[in-house]
Structures are given as C-alpha cells and as structure tokens.
C-alpha cells in the first residue's frame, strides 16, 4: 500500500481517478456488462432494470438501428450472430436452420440487411456499442477498456473477429477471456479457495466444461472440453417432440413449430419451480394442444442429454488426469443449470453439491469485470493473482511426408511460446515452406490448416545442415504468431495467423473424438509415411551417387540397382502397407552396399592423394 504524506490544507492531492473497466459477456442469445464498484463486481442494468441485453440487432430501412429488447420483438432481426463470427459461408453449421439472409462468398460470411451488406463483426459491434453506452450512462465516466469473454473453444479467427468488433465499437480490449474461466474467477476468488474446480456451463445452445486449479494465488486452467450443439434448447426440443407424440397432430407449419417451441421452453422453465406444467395452445391449423407435463416425465425424457454432458466431463477429467473425487468444487454456469435434475446429476457425479450462489446468467460477466478491474490497474492487495488459460487444440507444422509435428500440445497454458528446430531435406535447398496446422491427428490431411508461409534466403547447404528454428507464440488472448529463423544466417520470417475462416466448435469436438477413435489408424498412417520418406531419401541418395560415381559399377550391377530402384518407387507410390515399403527399401540398400563401399574407398583415396604420409594425423 502506498504511504501518505501530509499535504497543505485544501491542497490535498486528489486521489487517483478510479479507472473503470468493463467485463462484457458477449453471448449467443444474451449479452451483459458488469463493472467492479466498491470492490465488488455488479451487472449494469438498462433503464428498465434489465441486465440481460438480447443479442439481437435490426437494421431499419429508414437508417435506424435497433438493438436488444426493441429489436428482439420484431421480424427480420439478426439473432445469434455469434455463431457466424470468424466463419466462412461454407463453415457455418446447420446453415439452413439459421433464419438469416446469408451471402455466399469468400472470407467471413456476410448478411443482407435493409441497410446493405453487413459482416457479423459489424453486428457484434452494435451489441458491444449498446453495452458500452449503457456503461457510460451508468458510470458517467469514461472507461479504459473491457475484458470480453469468448467460448473456450473459439479459435483464432473467432477471437480475432471478436476483437475487431470491439475495436469497431470503440472499445479498447484489455483481454479476451474464456467464458468458463471468467465464471471461475467470479467464484474462486470470492472464496479465496485453493484446489481443483470444475466449471459446468450449460447455456442455451452450448455446453462447456473446464477444469481449473487454484493454488497460492495462481489460477490455472488445466483442461477444457465441450459440445457446441448441446444446451437448454435441446431440452425444449425434447418437450416439443413429446408434444407432437402426445397431441397426435398433423406436421405443423413453421409458425406453429415456433409457437410450440416457445411453449416447450416455458414449460421447461416452469418445471424448475413446479412439479407439473400445463401446456395449452391453439395452432394455426385450428388444432388445440392441452397437455400436462410432470417433472418425472420431463426428467426421464431428457436423461440422455444429461448423460451427454457427463461424457464431456469424463473426457475432461481424463485429459487432466483426475478422478471425479479429486474435484474440490463445482461451479454451475448458464441458465439451463437452473434445472433441478441437472443440479442433482452434477452433484451425484462429483459427490458434492455444486456452487450456485451467483446468478448463473451473470457469473461470466461478473468474473470478466473482476479481471478487467485488475488489468486496468485497480488491483487490490489480496488480488495479485495471475490467470492462465489453455490452448484447445495442438498446434504444429507439416513435416515432409505429410506428418504433423506438434509444437504446442493441447491444453498447454497460455501465454506460451515454444520453439523447435527443423532442417532442410534436400541438398542446396534455399527456401522452406512452413505450413501451420491445428489438431490432434498424426497426419496433416486430418488436421486443420491454419496458415502457410515461406522462409526464403536459406544459404545453400547439404541436406540436414541448415538449422531452422520455428517459434510458436500464443498470447493471453489465444492469438497465434509463428516465427521461423535460420540460425546460421539470421534469415527470418513471421506471420500473425489470421485465417480467413474459422473452425466450428463441433469440428473441434469432432476432431478430438476422431483423434481418439483413429489413434490406431494414425499410428499406421504415420508408420507408412515414415517408411515412404525413408525410401524416397534412399532413392535420392542412390541417384546422386550413380551420377557422381556411376563408373564404379558394371553394367550388370547397374541394371540390378535400377531394378531395385524401380521396385521401391513402385512400392512408395502404391503399397498401402508399411512392411512392403520397408522390404523394398532394404532390398535397394543391400543391393547398393558394395557400391557404397567402393565409393567410400574412392573418396578416401582422393582425400589422401597428393598428401605426404607425414601430413596425416594418425592416432598415436
């Protein structure tokens, strides 16, 4: 704590201005802004007292832009734009279910609006702008910036798009923070607890699970897992299906489907308090539905959805190398965790009651506000913690033969920098193409390509002599920079990885699943690729030896070697099994053994020619 000096009367130095900093949860359906006031984080409500701002924007033909509640009620409003952030048109999962006028094209997807074509970044900027405006009205003061939360599985492009949206809204981004991590901050620090925590976040459309370790002020995320297609909406959908079965109605029209889904959601939320919920509505078709859903029925028909979340929990525990009873506390986040059977299932799985004191809709924003407050320099004496995040998928580069060499493993804590040395594969190679990939699989073709760049100006050297150091750096926001440097000459190349479209959460989940399912295939593929590579190297070496010292071979010998070369070339091109390639390689190796010995003798003789015996250093 700073020490005070005595000041002259009326001249007391004004205490430093509080540097306001915002925590913003930019959600798929709702967004919130929170700030630390009087040492505690709180959400800022709008004039009507609502903390939640629907993440909905409507561009009017007359030039007005409506945001939030006033846009939500209207048709033609843009909702769930978060799903489009940093994505290309072809990248968007269940495109047909999104009620938006999307434009096909390269780069990030664009939307048709009454005010022309807009990008998801612009739409998000409107939402962020509305929250910033709310903060200005409430704090009556300018703020230094904001911490904005993103799903744990957001990739580079999605994070970059989020940052761009903030910049467009005139908000300085202090840090992007993973949503579950923010939630843990809101809880873990309030309690100054030590131990290992699980954050179970079941929102409207996504499920995220993170495992965090808190110890001596150090806050570390040790594993994350999730399912981007699992949330409260799926529970609504189960009720909708049940309604169809029970009411025996004709297939409903889109307007009736929407009506029934709303009724399903209302029933689900009612069952959080009540034992039974009545669902009564009349459809456009004239048919009437009047049903009563009991808790028991609802719980039974959604138990599989719960089981799916627990499968993710198990996977995360496996990644973290922990058992359920190693978890010291469980935090519930997301509106859907209000459902009693979700709470019960989580409590049973971990053998302890989850923490539910904070409003599950708000925890993420509250934690973000806390982090923002500290980054703005308003650090409390007891708050000198450091926050570490993890990288969701391994990062690596493509090696000869299509192999992916991991440089930063999945779940490495951020920020992180790792370097690895590579070398040239051919004599006189002066350029090297570096292909950055992300994923868990062994083969590049099965991973996701992030970027390619070239390192030029490598001095010509024999294969294997150049030393190329490739450094991967991922900053605290999860954004990647790759640097490659040839050590002997200092030639350098670097890029910020900004892919033109992003990986979907589902893809990440699928890729992770596939990496487990394909572990054996991958091993075989890797072995085959290695065998081929070895064969190719031997072919190249044989060809250059024949060119240099072909005169040492008789015509018969030469024919035999040519024949083995042809057989090996064929095996490399066509054989699907590693053993065949190895056999062909070995056959060529033994066929050239005598030739290699003769070349060796010749080069020794050349080296000795003209030298006096005295000049030779002989071992004494």
């Amino acid at each position: 704590m700073a020490l005070l000096q005595i000041a002259e009367p009326q001249d007391a130095a004004a205490p430093h201005q509080h540097r306001w900093a915002l925590g913003i949860d930019l959600g798929t359906t709702h967004s919130l802004v929170a700030v630390v006031r009087n040492g505690a984080p709180e959400c800022l409500p709008d004039e009507d007292g609502h903390c939640l701002l629907p993440s909905v924007v409507r561009y009017e033909a007359d030039g007005a832009v409506r945001i939030g509640h006033e846009a939500a009620a209207q048709r033609g409003a843009i909702a769930s734009v978060k799903r489009l952030m940093g994505r290309g048109y072809a990248d968007i999962p269940n495109r047909e279910s999104i009620a938006l006028d999307l434009l096909e094209g390269d780069g990030m997807v664009r939307l048709h609006t009454a005010q022309g074509v807009k990008t998801p970044v612009e739409v998000s900027a409107r939402i962020l702008g509305a929250l910033a405006e709310r903060a200005r009205a409430s704090l009556g003061d300018d703020f230094v910036g904001a911490v904005i939360t993103v799903p744990a599985y957001f990739d580079d492009a999605q994070r970059q798009a989020t940052k761009d949206a903030a910049r467009l809204a005139g908000i300085h981004v202090l840090r992007l923070l993973n949503e579950p991590t923010a939630a843990a901050l809101a809880y873990g620090l309030d309690r100054a607890a030590e131990g290992v925590f699980a954050i179970y976040d079941l929102g409207g459309g996504t499920f995220d699970l993170s495992i965090l370790r808190l110890s001596r002020g150090l806050f570390e995320v040790i594993a994350t897992h999730g399912d981007s297609a699992l949330g409260g909406d799926d529970f609504d959908h189960r009720i909708y299906c049940w309604m169809l079965e029970q009411a025996r109605i004709a297939p409903p029209c889109p307007a009736d489907i929407a009506r029934m889904m709303r009724a399903a959601r209302a029933a689900k939320e009612a069952l959080t308090q009540d034992e039974r919920a009545r669902i009564a509505l009349t459809l456009d078709s004239g048919e009437a539905i009047d049903l009563t859903l009991t808790r028991d029925t609802f719980f039974a028909m959604t138990s599989l959805l719960l089981e799916k979340t627990l499968a993710s929990v198990r996977a995360a525990l496996r990644d973290a190398n922990l058992a359920a009873n190693d978890i010291d506390g469980v935090v519930l986040v997301g509106g859907a965790t209000r459902m009693p059977h979700v709470r019960r299932a989580v409590a049973e799985f971990f053998g302890k009651e989850p923490l539910v004191d904070l409003n599950p809709d708000q925890v993420v924003a509250l934690g973000a506000a806390r982090q923002a407050n500290i980054l703005a320099g308003n650090r409390d004496a007891h708050e000198d913690w450091l926050l570490l995040d993890v990288i969701p998928l391994s990062l690596g580069v493509e090696m000869l033969g299509g192999l992916a060499e991991k440089i930063i493993p999945r779940n490495a804590t951020l920020p992180v920098a790792r370097a690895q040395e590579f070398t040239t594969a051919r004599d006189g190679q002066t350029a090297m193409s570096i292909h950055v990939v992300q994923g868990e699989r062994e083969m590049v073709a099965d991973c996701r390509s992030l970027a390619r760049f070239e390192l030029r100006g490598i001095p010509p050297m024999v294969a294997g002599a150049a030393r190329i150091r490739v450094t991967f750096q991922v900053d605290a926001d999860g954004l990647l920079t790759v640097r490659a440097r040839e050590e002997s000459t200092g030639v350098e190349a670097n890029i910020s990885v900004q892919p033109s479209y992003g990986l979907t959460d589902t893809e990440i989940a699928d890729m992770l699943r596939a990496s487990l399912a394909h572990a054996a295939d991958d091993r075989d593929a890797r072995a085959l690729a290695e065998a081929r590579l070895e064969g190719e190297q031997l072919l190249a070496a044989t060809a250059s030896a024949m060119a240099a010292d072909g005169d040492l071979l008789s015509a018969d010998e030469r024919a035999a070697i040519d024949q083995h070369c042809a057989a090996l070339t064929d095996a490399i091109a066509h054989a699907q099994d590693t053993v065949a390639v190895y056999h062909a390689t070995e056959a060529l190796a033994s066929a050239t053994e005598a030739f290699a010995a003769r070349r060796m003798n010749r080069s020794i003789r050349r080296a000795l020619a003209g030298k006096n015996i005295d000049e030779l250093e002989l071992p004494k």
Binding site: A2, Q5, I6, A7, E8, A12, H18, R19
Partner: protein, 107 residues
C-alpha cells in the same frame, strides 16, 4: 472510540510541523472517490472548523471533521518505512477492502 497515532507517527508529525513553521496539528479525513469508493486525506491544520473534533495523542493534535469521523473512528495513524519509502499509513478497523494504492478504501 477515538483516533490515535503511534509514537513514530507523532514524532514525525512534530518534526513536519516544526519544519513548516506554523500549524496546530494535522487533519485526517476521507473523500468520496478513488477506486474503492473513499480516499484518505492527510493535511496540516491552521484553523479548526465548527464541525471538527480534536483528539490529542502522544502530544500531537489530530483534527477530524464529523462526517469523516464516521468512517475513521478507531483508526490508528502509523508512520512506517517500507524499503526506500516512508510515510503514513491508516490502520482503519472500518475498512472492509482497500485498493492496492492504499489511498482509498470502502466500508
């Protein structure tokens, strides 16, 4: 309850007043602003006002206005040396949280 100063603080206040050449004591107060809501203030006193309360401790006079006293009652003013810095420090039993700069607190 009252406001107190430690021996070390009293000694330093005496020295400061002597160096300044005038003044009857020091004023402790709070201002509303700063990162945790309120900030301390520490000034020389030449004249006291109607609303002021005066305490004596270790031979020095401490002046606090009525409004500030609500937040400062029971506070001990200390003088400490931390590394290369030396200065006054408030030990306020009312403060629930304090900002890192030590200039502000909340109750």
């Amino acid at each position: 309850m009252a406001i107190t100063v430690t021996e070390a603080a009293a000694r330093h206040i005496e020295k400061s007043l002597a160096r300044r050449g005038k003044g009857i004591g020091i004023r402790l107060g709070v201002q509303t602003s700063g990162c945790s809501g309120m900030a301390y203030k520490l000034e020389f006193v030449d004249v006291t006002g109607e609303d002021d309360q005066v305490f004596e401790c270790h031979g020095v006079r401490i002046v606090v206005d009525g409004k500030s006293l609500v937040y400062l009652d029971g506070t001990e003013l200390d003088f400490v040396r931390e590394g290369l810095n030396e200065g006054f420090k408030f030990n306020n039993p009312n403060a629930k949280s304090q900002c890192g700069c030590g200039e502000s607190f909340s109750v």
